[in-house]
């Protein structure tokens, strides 16, 4: 077996445990995107064009609430800002690669791919065909995300119309946020953002969402002890 193939398969294998959690997440996204009013083609398209779970859920919700396009795009930007951090973290390991590899791997750089790849690279495994490891992990996630989205869309077509499925979106957000509130700064960020969002809900263009998110981020950052 060639080194490239071995690296690719190792990436696939290491990504696998995360896929078990990603599959139902993708199905829920597909189901909810339809409920939010997206066409099946748009729901599926977003999974390959944006390819970022939480941003896709939020986009579906904002489309449902008829938020202006610019606010949706700005929110996607804020939610996905963390990817710059991943980009910075992996950059030294990828600097020798040709541009087409950098572009391809950047497209595949999700939370789940980063978690697996950075563990391997920080462990010193970046010589030789290490980009194939990233490709294996990234493609495993990408394929799972597309298939699970499609499964959710197919399932969505058979759900009775009077089920309150629009409630599944806020419940999904609760399921994502609450377990992550492990310390005071995170809890304060969450509460302050939520309260500000209530207070400024009347602002036009859903700008209250952006304002509330920025207040929450500032509160969390200020409360955190300096390292």
């Amino acid at each position: 077996m060639s080194v490239r193939r071995a690296e690719f398969l190792a990436g696939l294998r290491d990504e696998f445990p995360l896929l078990v959690g990603v599959f139902p997440f993708g199905m829920i996204y597909g189901l909810l995107a339809l409920q939010a009013g997206l066409s099946p083609a748009a729901a599926q398209g977003m999974s390959s064009i944006v390819f970022a779970g939480s941003a896709q859920f939020i986009t579906a919700q904002l489309v449902h609430e008829a938020a202006p396009s610019l606010v949706i795009i700005l929110t996607i930007g804020i939610v996905n800002l963390r990817h710059m951090l991943y980009s910075a973290s992996l950059a030294p390991h990828l600097r020798e690669l040709p541009t087409k590899w950098k572009v391809l791997l950047s497209y595949l750089l999700t939370d789940e791919a980063y978690a697996v790849v950075v563990t391997r690279y920080e462990g010193g495994g970046t010589r030789g065909a290490a980009q194939w490891y990233f490709l294996g992990a990234g493609l495993a996630l990408w394929t799972t995300w597309q298939i699970s989205t499609a499964a959710g869309i197919l399932l969505g077509a058979s759900v009775p119309a009077d089920w309150p499925l629009d409630f599944a979106l806020p419940v999904t957000f609760i399921a994502i946020v609450v377990p992550a509130l492990r310390d005071r700064p995170a809890l304060a960020a969450s509460l302050s953002a939520g309260i500000v969002a209530l207070l400024v809900f009347g602002l036009p263009f859903k700008l209250g969402l952006i304002a509330a998110a920025l207040v929450g981020i500032a509160v969390g950052t200020l409360l955190e002890k300096r390292p």
Binding site: I78, R82, P164, L169, V178, S190, G194, A212, V215, V219
Partner: protein, 104 residues
Amino acid sequence: MSIWLVMLAGGLLTFGMRYSLIFLFGRMRVPGLLQRSLRFVPPAVLSAIVLPDLLLHAGSPNLTFQNERMLAGAIAILAAWRTRNMLVTIAIGMAALLLLRWVG
């Protein structure tokens, strides 16, 4: 603007951020303050979406026991806090809403 244009812009923005420092490596560093603030982005944005969704009805607060979404949301928060499991939380939250509607 059509949903496809919004997705395309959002997708390009996301790709741009993923590619940014891989492309720029060696030319700049992420400021420490920005780096520390990033972990607060998900709780802040998601809470700013969820709380109004649960507590407001057509733009004005509804904090009474008639507000089934608020009650089911509170149950879901409790479930998420206790189980830390996404699928279990969603199932309990949805079941709570259906039950509250059925009762009320």
